[in-house]
Amino acid sequence: MPKDSGIGASSKRREDVRFLTGAGNYTDDINVHGQAYVHFLRSDIAHGRINSIDTSAAEGMPGVVKVFTGKDFEGVGGMPCGWEVTDRHGAPMQEPPHPILAQGKVRHVGDPIAAVVADSLEQARDAAEAIEVDIAELPAVMNMKAAAQEGATLIHDDLKNNICYDWHLGEEDNDKVNEVFANAAHVTTLDLVNNRLVANPMEPRVAVAEYSRGTEDYTLYTTSQNPHVIRLLMCAFVLGLPEHKVRVVAPDVGGGFGTKIFHYAEEAFCTFAAKACNRPVKWTSSRSEAFMSDAHGRDHVSTIELALDAENNFVGLRTNTYANLGAYLSTFSSSVPTWLHGTLMAGNYKTPVIQVNVKAMFTNTVPVDAYRGAGRPEATYQLERVIDKAARELGVDPIALRRQNFITQFPYDTPVALTYDTGDYNGTMDKLEAAADLAGFAARRSASEAKGKLRGLGINCYIEACGIAPSNIVGMLGARAGLYDAATVRVNATGSISVMVGAHSHGQGHETAFPQVVADMIGIDESMVEIVHGDTSKIPFGMGTYGSRSLAVCGSAMVKATEKVIDKAKKIAAHLLEASEADIELKDGQFSVAGTDKSVAWGDVTLTAYVPHNFPLEVEPGLEETAFYDPANFTFPAGAYACEVEVDPETGQVTIEAFTAADDFGNIVNPMIVDGQVHGGIGQGIGQALLENCAYDENGQLLSASYMDYAMPRADDLPFYAVDHSSQTPCTHNPLGVKGCGEAGAIGSPPAVVNAVLDALNSGGKAVDHIDMPMSPSRVWTAMHG
């Protein structure tokens, strides 16, 4: 029976009241007395050498406070990369400088050249137009394979080539891999592109910085998923400021999707300029700026090969990927095509030999970094597409082929460095087959054909490594940060609780789900518990929200801290009840002595903690505990998805008729929020599969630089989803048994959509092997008539 409160209840999202009634407090809502505004002059040339910048006219314009160029930052660090990848020969990746404002060269359209701080934004824009910049244009390096060639134009003059690293994972012995493929009964090969995306959170990035001359304190308000990470990177690597003098606040944030993890030049600029100008400085990105300065996602070009034996067992898998990193290394960009991608190439299957090869390339494009799923969608897409193609080539049922190769024994050590702790892939597939009514598909196809439409069914599985941590493992893999998290449970005298968490909620519903856990553990009403997040001056040093980690990592810290609180409260209760601590039981907010009718209420104990007149002398007053939590392993959510599409053969238009998700997220705190996370993820995955495409021309001009050309999914592009998460194998190593659900939809859905479209076309007699995403009507029609 569904619960009405606590763990397992679909409590309504309390934060939505303020979000939906216009009462949120976003960074752009923050205005500091006396603030000036910054406008960045950005390059409209993709690659060029800066001959000169003349700011003299701009400096004399009305309202101008100060004009900055790269020269003003020569004594300041550049934007750091938080993950050092080691290449296949053991050498560190090539790591070029990434200045706050361009120094010497511009390297992508949108690269900031100068910044004007003025009394008003319009004055700053006027002055920016008066800056004279002389740039000698260089050839734009756009194609990754060409960029890797000997003699290609160098984007960073001090690097030996445009390859950040040439990386390898899995089987090292090429001869062994070649032998597996040579001896295979069947080999399926597929070339595919994982299309570049722009995250497009509804709220663009904003930074407001102030500096107090009196106390030498800085405050930076910024649109971030992880304020402590921003403070650490900015203080330690960029500006050289003492962390205790810098407060970073990420208030309500209107969507992140990964792109607000990273430390951006504009944040560091505003902090620097607030002192240099002795004025608060505010920057609000326009949507146009967001397209050319927010880190982009995906952009892999891959060749994947799957070897099968005569019984259709997977015997080998090899992938060669070019991963686009853009012009500079963004904060976690180097980790995405490697440890978040190569490690997932086993998928749900017991393929014994796997080799992953990745060349990460610099190009004259916006930096690419984590976007919902980050590496795992790219791995899943390759794997699930090549399996589908193999099934078609072999004439076998794609579900049966998958089932035959599923991993069924846990824990399972993959050939690509992970240990899956638990899962039940056949059980999850059973749920999918029932929920999606696959038995009724043939009749639905006939009905579509009667209307002149082609109908297709696409199936795929996914697995992801989430709950990102553990610090000791990621440290060995090159992470320059720890990935634990932290929570402080502060019980107030009258029994209400503030929980200060390192995770940041920017749409995930933490403010509802986290209190459900604490309230459930104590047996009090959820409304008595509130989450505090997003302000380094209020919360413990946690690492923020990304990688579906908040509940698995920060939630575990919160559980540990709550356990400490309960242990201490039991000591106080034992004193009040004149009983042994070992006999105290906590249920429904009452401490009682086992086997008696003696009890004391939660509120009486908490009040005693702060009014300790009658108090155990060996116990400290107060009731507040902190815990840090670093897990033993990643978590491994997994699932099976089914998509049904109709294709209009006259126009190539694809419509999604049904989408069913069967996910195994382990235990679930709030099923409604989990449904919402899956819905949102699938929406973004369908967006990638059918609509979204960040495209450049050969000169490095961004063709899809606005919503006129970048197609975001809208409500009428999306179906009603069927989501089943009753397949639950709890995570074995965190206290809640949770795995994370934030990215699953975006990881699992693109191959389902593509597989469905190809199934539809093949059902209509069109032998189409592959169409790259987005499967726009034009591309589908062209493939049908190619």
Partner: protein, 263 residues
């Protein structure tokens, strides 16, 4: 946005006078002009809003039975008020942009702008409408002169557009996935004296009439009449959203669907 002066006259004569100053520009609903100004890509010295001119508002039936739409009438209003008198025209207005656009954007603004992917130019040309300005009446066939170009003079204001009402008409719009303008839109109108087919979204020369299809349909009005007719892809738009060949193909598909809707 650069600084500019703003006037909102209540008569056409005052609007014409206000537009006489250098670099002044008429403002309808501002659905193209205002974003362009915000991006600093347009810098008129003065905007003259025509939305306060009462005689440029609303839908009425003329003595000859044609439907006249005031130049400053919003799409939302046309969608409602023309629904009885010219349903296909109302349907066009009702699927332009989104509700915000429809409640600001005006027929005069859209027709004067002549965006090559806009809906109204196809409807105006396909209907053989007459564009009425403060100085003259212009047949639709003479009005559109290619992408973003019309015969309007500096300072000339579209005061109304008069539509003869066909026996049957249909607008078939295939959406560009991002902007939801027409990737290809075909407006087909069947009059007692012949069929008109106007195409938007497809051509580098803006809205155009597909005369071969009109001739074929004048002989026999059925989808098969298009058999063997092909649009030459050479002058079609080719971009991220569709090749020239794809757009040429879609013109045929959308025309066929318009015929079916009118049959």
């Amino acid at each position: 946005m650069y600084s500019f002066e703003f006037e909102k006259p209540s008569t056409i004569a005052d609007a014409v006078a206000a537009l006489a100053s250098e670099d002044a520009q008429a403002l309808g609903g501002g659905q193209t002009l205002i974003p362009t100004m915000k991006q600093r890509l347009a810098a008129p010295s003065k905007l003259v809003s025509v939305s306060g001119i009462a005689e440029m508002q609303g839908v009425c039936i003329e003595d000859d039975g044609s439907v006249a739409i005031g130049g400053a009438t919003t799409h939302a209003r046309v969608a409602v008020e023309a629904a009885g008198s010219y349903p296909a025209l109302a349907a066009v207005a009702g699927q332009i942009g989104d509700p915000a656009v429809r409640n600001r954007g005006t027929i005069g603004g859209s027709v004067a702008n002549n965006d090559p992917a806009a809906c109204y130019p196809a409807c105006v040309l396909g209907s053989g409408a007459t564009i009425v300005t403060n100085t003259r009446q212009i047949a639709a066939d003479d009005f559109f002169q290619g992408m973003f170009t019309t015969v309007l003079e500096e300072g000339e204001i579209i005061t109304s557009v008069r539509f003869p009402v066909p026996q049957a008409a249909s607008y078939q719009k295939f959406l560009q996935p991002a902007s939801r303008f027409a990737l290809v839109g075909v407006y087909l109108a069947r009059f007692a004296d012949g069929v008109r087919v106007a195409v938007t979204g497809a051509s580098e020369d803006g809205v155009f009439r597909w005369s071969e299809a009109e001739e074929a349909l004048n002989k026999e009005f059925r989808p098969d009449a298009l058999m063997g007719l092909h649009i030459n892809p050479a002058n079609m738009i080719g971009d991220l959203h569709g090749s020239k060949e794809y757009r040429a193909h879609l013109v045929g598909v959308m025309t066929k669907r318009a015929i079916e809707a009118c049959s």
